[in-house]
Symmetry: C2
Subunit: 133 residues, 2 copies
DNA sequence: TACTCAATAATATTAAATATCAATAAGAAG
DNA sequence: CTTCTTATTGATATTTAATATTATTGAGTA
């Protein structure tokens, strides 16, 4: 199937790169709609799927909340704050090698993995301890 | 708030233990409904939440698909097959220590993590290669 | 046995994402 | 440039997982 270039798709790619970290489809839609209010929500979803299949952007599947979309960059993991729900980057060199270690142990063909840490971010931690007094 | 014991809650716990691995709320509901067709889907969800809060069962949040519920057992990770969608156990001793390693590096209070591998299970792999011929 | 309110059943609602489909426009061919 | 094909769009409906709502029921105490 031949892929056509559309303005809508460039809008989506631009928005992901502009928002630049962990944006949800809804946030991306809103960003685009600011300048191009006629764009359809379905189109944003469709192109987010396409772009991540094409390897132009990275999809981060978060259990419990909406998928996030990132620009392609160094491989990193994510932490989700249980209090505010925000997602932060974690650079984890020591996780590399994990996959290859597992590949040996099972009949599975591993194609990837997601590690999603959860915890409480410094900001929420502070609010919590100050409110506790 | 005083917690009351209900037959429905025991049904849910029994079903989780019987199905015993990675059952979805819907599967658990169906299992119970076989014998007790009057149980409400909402009650199943409510009790799955309660039981996992109480630490009686373990909730596995899977990005993309419905949450799974497990009986409490040894700590293990999960692999989701991209083809058939089934979830399998992975015992991973070497992942322990990961959390403590990270705890040092950030201002975060880590409360846990999920590692969800994805790949293609032996069964689907076989079907694929035999069909490819 | 009677009383209180936590828990239930049934239904409505929400949220994230996909499916449907007529209308539009990308890009090749003439 | 004009025409043609069909991928893509916009709009809406639908799906799926889960929660909210609320009158009713029943667990546990008094």
């Amino acid at each position: 199937m031949i892929r056509r270039n559309t303005i809508q798709r460039t809008f989506v790619l631009e928005a992901v790169n502009k928002l630049h970290c962990h944006a949800t489809a809804d946030e991306i839609y809103n960003e685009i709609a600011k300048k191009h209010p006629t764009i359809s929500r379905a189109t944003v979803y469709r192109n987010l799927n396409l772009l991540s299949e094409m390897g132009e952007i990275r999809r981060l599947e978060l259990p419990g909340s909406a998928d996030r979309f990132d620009h392609i960059s160094s491989n990193h993991c994510h932490v989700k704050c249980e209090v505010c729900g925000r997602v932060f980057d974690v650079d984890m060199d020591f996780v590399s090698g994990l996959e290859s270690g597992i590949r040996d142990a099972h009949g599975f063909d591993f194609t990837g993995y997601d590690i999603i840490f959860h915890g409480i971010c410094p900001e929420c931690k502070e609010q919590k301890s100050s409110g506790k007094e």
